[in-house]
């Protein structure tokens, strides 16, 4: 592929615009509240676009388009699957989360529990999710940029790492939000334009496109094929996608950027609309690439099929459009890693440093300083891991991140918000068991044993562990809670329910010592953690 000056031009344009945004945001990021939640100043519409930006990764743009182009209908199973988590986020999580927490999802789980164990377990779950997701993105970025821009793999990883650290370090949540918005607009706009160019060749009729695909490659491309050969694998992946979204730390963190629960609700409505529209477009892009570019050509450029959309762009719009789509893919990766880094930094600094090491006694300056130090640490780790995993098959790591989020973070959130008898030991056990069981089972599964380690067989039969680990996470949480009843924690549930519906203010006072949302940023306010410990 002749990638060109145009691609570099578009990419530098994106980099300049986003760095200008970062400079603008940096002047408005003075406190920890600004750093983590943009001072709750983001509107519902803006947050909807930013949520879409956080969620639509290069894997979904390039990966799904490639999968549809090379396998037909089987790829579409993913298109539908990635969206179904969003209604769950809306119905069960978004509003209580916004009303109960401050910066991280651990705030919510810890509301009526003992701070230290809950924070440690939640930070562990967050960092596991974020790290796996980051590795997948960094390795993907390195390979992609090598193909598109001719940069070496290591240089590409370093560029991505430096840019993401710059956004987060200086501009905090405000810059990260606007980077997401710019990226989401570019990605949806680019995908829509590409789909339009495809459909223009088929009288604007998607069915005519599908018919052309069936004519060239047989009717089988319109029906389920061998991708889902084991039914339980499909169900297991479905469970991870459905409940994992509602446990992804970088997604959950976005609900703190809006002023209230109503705005949190509206923003998920926006995000569901945008992300759904994007996945519908992948139907057209995938089959368009299959018919116009052909799977043979796509696979000859990249065996994984990831270049289907860029090749389609080159065919339909020439080198300039290829350059544009390449830059959009790069921007997509940058925005996602920035969001991940910010949520990882929040777990390190807000959960572990401020609430565990300092027991909530940290002034506003220290909080901001620690958050920034954590950002730099994560940036360095991400670059090192990106280089360490060069050439490895890391495609499974995103689904693994979803599985951990679904098996550890999601049960802990649901139990603590909706179940009166949930206890500290219960939610900690749920998070620890869900996360560890997922890691162990994925290691024993064919995904790692056969695909990565090239062994003959695997001890655990399923490719995705969520079918076992999500129920296990819930069951552990319930059983351990019942074994360790806590009158104080059950009593505080009424106050939690009040605050979950009414929001902060009066509600938070009732929870007394357990309230994690105590505004620590306000100087002169006595720390309130002691009573809960």
């Amino acid at each position: 592929m002749a990638t060109s000056l145009v691609a570099k031009l578009f990419f530098f344009l994106f980099l300049s615009v986003t760095l200008a945004i970062t400079w603008w945001a940096a002047r408005r990021t003075r406190t920890a509240d600004h750093f983590y939640s943009a001072g709750r100043s983001i509107t519902a519409g803006q947050n909807g676009w930013a949520l879409a930006g956080d969620f639509m990764s290069a894997a979904s743009f390039l990966g799904i388009a490639g999968l549809v182009a090379t396998t037909g209908f089987d790829g579409l199973i993913y298109s539908a699957g990635w969206l179904v988590g969003w209604p769950v986020v809306l119905f069960l999580i978004a509003e209580p989360l916004r009303n109960l927490g401050k910066y991280t999802f651990a705030d919510v789980v810890a509301v009526r529990m003992r701070q230290v164990p809950v924070r440690i377990a939640a930070a562990f779950g967050t960092l596991a999710t974020v790290t796996l997701y980051l590795i997948a993105q960094m390795v993907g970025a390195g390979g992609l940029i090598k193909l598109l821009f001719g940069l070496t793999y290591e240089a590409a990883v370093v560029v991505v790492g430096l840019a993401m650290v710059a956004y987060v370090l200086f501009g905090g949540m405000l810059a990260t939000t606007w980077v997401q918005i710019v990226k989401a607009v570019l990605l949806l706009g680019g995908a829509a334009l590409l789909a339009l160019l495809v459909l223009l060749r088929f009288d604007m009729n998607p069915a005519a496109l599908f018919a052309a695909a069936a004519e060239q490659y047989g009717a089988a491309v319109l029906a389920p094929g061998k991708l889902v050969s084991k039914p339980l694998d499909a169900v297991s992946l479905g469970i991870a996608l459905m409940f994992g979204t509602a446990g992804l730390p970088h997604i959950l963190m976005r609900f703190y950027t809006v002023p209230d629960a109503r705005a949190a609700r509206q923003s998920v409505f926006w995000a569901t609309g945008l992300i759904g529209a994007f996945y519908l477009l992948t139907f057209v892009l995938g089959f368009g690439a299959m018919v116009l570019v052909t799977p043979e050509v796509i696979k000859s450029v990249d065996a994984g099929g990831n270049m289907a959309a860029p090749l389609l762009a080159e065919l339909l719009g020439g080198t300039p459009f290829l350059g544009f789509i390449g830059a959009v893919a790069f921007a997509t990766i940058l925005a996602v890693v920035a969001g991940l880094t910010l949520s990882g930094a929040a777990a390190l600094s807000h959960d572990l440093w401020v609430n565990v090491v300092k027991h909530g006694h940290a002034d506003a300056h220290e909080q901001l300083r620690v958050a920034r130090a954590a950002t730099v640490c994560l940036g360095v780790i991400a670059i090192l891991l990106g280089i360490a995993f060069k050439g490895q098959n890391v495609a499974f790591m995103v689904s693994l991140a979803f599985a951990i989020a679904a098996s550890g973070n999601f049960p802990a959130l649901v139990l603590s918000i909706f179940w009166r008898r949930a206890t500290t030991a219960g939610v900690v056990a749920a998070m620890a068991t869900g996360t560890l069981a997922t890691l162990v089972l994925i290691y024993l599964s064919p995904t790692v044993q056969v695909d990565v380690l090239h062994r003959e067989d695997a001890w655990f039969p399923l490719k995705y562990p969520a079918l076992v680990t999500v129920p296990l996470g819930f069951l552990t949480g319930i059983v351990v809670s019942l074994l360790t009843p806590s009158a104080a924690e059950a009593e505080a549930f009424a106050a939690l329910e009040r605050r979950a519906s009414l929001g902060g203010g009066g509600g938070s006072e009732v929870l007394g010592g357990r309230a994690s949302a105590a505004p620590q940023a306000r100087p002169g306010r006595p720390p309130r953690e002691a009573a809960g410990l």
Binding site: F73, L76, I77, S79, A80, G81, L83, V84, W86, P87, V88, L90, F91, L92, E95, P206, A207, A208, L209, F210, A211, A212, A214, A219, A220, L222, A223, P224, G225, V228, K230, P231, L232, A234, V235, G238, M242, R262, R265, Q266, V268, F269, T272, G273, G276, Y279, L280, F283, F418, E497, R498, A500, S501, L502, G506
Partner: protein, 93 residues
Amino acid sequence: MNGDHDARLRALSAARRRVAVALTAVVMVIYFGFIGLIAWDKPLLGTLVAPGLSLGILLGALVIVACWATTWVYVRWANGRYDPELERLRQER
């Protein structure tokens, strides 16, 4: 804070929970129904409902539409019923 106020708030939050759980169940049935058909009845999904349009592609698109529809139903309920009642309770406090 009087008992009646508390009871009404609890009733309202229970109503939200019922709507939330019911809609979550709807999405689960739709999505896992789709996955179930893929897993256990592949030929059915290959049937053409129109030239070029297989039942599988149609249902896949409808899963996305169903996500839109259920979120729309929830937001409509929450904005139209839940929020005004919550506002009344807030003012009375």
